[in-house]
Symmetry: C2
Subunit: 265 residues, 2 copies
């Protein structure tokens, strides 16, 4: 039987809330907080589950939660509301340790996505999800990107952050140079001085890294400069641009390699 937490001021609740709110604290603890039954179950497949919190109602609906190998706490509704930060929630919350991934472990000659100053959590999450879906080998985040372990990114990625290595790099041009030396062609997504997508093809056995900037600013010049070539998605003059996660995902789809074990068969 799980211990019941009845106070919003309980230290374990405060710890979880701090993980939800502070990127610095997540980094220090190498741990993050997630909300929602489906998301937590998805993340538990690949990330070390440390603590799970649930309401009685949520446990009644999903009794399998009691079988998870981790610390368990039953929380009263008003405590669950504090964890959720809002009155509506599913009553399931968890703390996970960071998955163990390092830049040096990325496979030579793989297919990668690099994000440059993509601040919008919805875009970062959707792009991680697309990269995992299309069989990429990793996602490299430069400075200025939304934290992949923030609640909003976790939600938008639908837990994909546990399914593909995601690494943060202090210097994105340096990271791209290194990937290039490991056999990747680096492609910058850029509107100007670029080739239309239809004209660019990289054979599936070759490595590549696709660099994508934010919707407003695009890629920084330093990132464009280290890339071997630049590509753009041709669009009609009826619109100025595409949604950032849409544009990135169309590029990811175009440059997908062999998608092993995928549902195309």
């Amino acid at each position: 039987m799980a211990e019941c937490i009845t106070s919003r001021e309980n230290s374990k609740i405060k710890y979880a809330c701090k993980l939800a709110q502070s990127a610095a604290f997540r980094l220090e603890e190498q741990a993050f907080f997630a909300e929602g039954l489906k998301l937590c179950e998805e993340l538990a497949k690949t990330c070390p589950l440390k603590v799970i919190y649930y309401t009685q109602k949520a446990l009644d609906k999903a009794p399998q939660l009691a079988q998870l190998a981790c610390d368990q706490y039953l929380v009263q509704d008003h405590v669950a509301e504090k964890l959720a930060g809002m009155p509506s929630h599913q009553g399931v919350f968890a703390v996970f340790g960071y998955p163990k991934v390092e830049f040096s472990q990325l496979p030579a000659g793989g297919r990668f996505l690099a994000l440059d100053r993509v601040q919008d959590p919805g875009n970062v999450g959707a792009l991680i999800r697309s990269a995992a879906a299309f069989g990429y080998d990793g996602v490299v985040l430069g400075p200025g990107c939304a934290d992949p372990y923030s609640p909003k990114v976790l939600r938008a990625s639908m837990g994909a952050v546990g399914q593909i290595p995601v690494v943060s790099c202090p210097n994105l041009p340096d990271a791209l140079r290194q990937l290039h030396s490991m056999g990747c062609e680096c492609l910058a997504a850029a509107l100007y001085n670029s080739q239309p997508l239809d004209a660019v093809w990289i054979p599936p056995e070759k490595g590549l890294c696709l660099a994508i900037g934010s919707e407003g600013q695009g890629l920084s010049q330093a990132v464009i400069d280290v890339c071997q070539r630049a590509v753009r998605i041709p669009i009609t003059p009826r619109v100025e641009s595409l949604n950032a996660s849409v544009a990135g995902s169309v590029l990811l789809w175009h440059f997908r390699g062999e998608m092993k074990g995928c549902n195309s068969l």
Copy 2:
């Protein structure tokens, strides 16, 4: 010199707020409300501009607003806050008439996007934007979709709703049958009993209609049944699904026809 509105209870302000909030009222008035300088200027290219409201600060930044051929009102900051529904805003708001588009005017043998119960305004907006970007001839919305003239859809579409015919249909299977009789092959985006995208190709001179359902529910069976075939985007087993606007946009990109006047040259 524009008349100045100093009261939040002014009838012209109440009218604009009602347009922002009520889909039924928009339909009755055949008019909608938009916020933001860029969005309003974009929409003014194609939709009949009826009234513009701005703060003095916004007018100082964008004096070209005073040249627009429509009713103009200067609004005090507290009135602008009411129009925006929040304290942060750009101080530019407008009321437009609906663009004149009817199902019967859609070109025979064109390329169309049909949405079935896509409720999320961000997804509806992003998909309208992608359809316009990739040169489609129209978007058909079935019952249960977010209203294309709601403030959230307008924002997500970045004004593309004025750049491509968007028509709402009371019965989506009927609309698809009619498009088929007008020379379109109807394609259902469906995970099961479908062909992988790579295996399906429609020559650019042929008409088609791509039907897409919501992220949670997918297409209704009645819509799948009237389609000539079903397609899916192959994904690895690492994720269950793609973001809805991402999936729809990858399909729109794959099935784009000739994109006239596009920036690929």
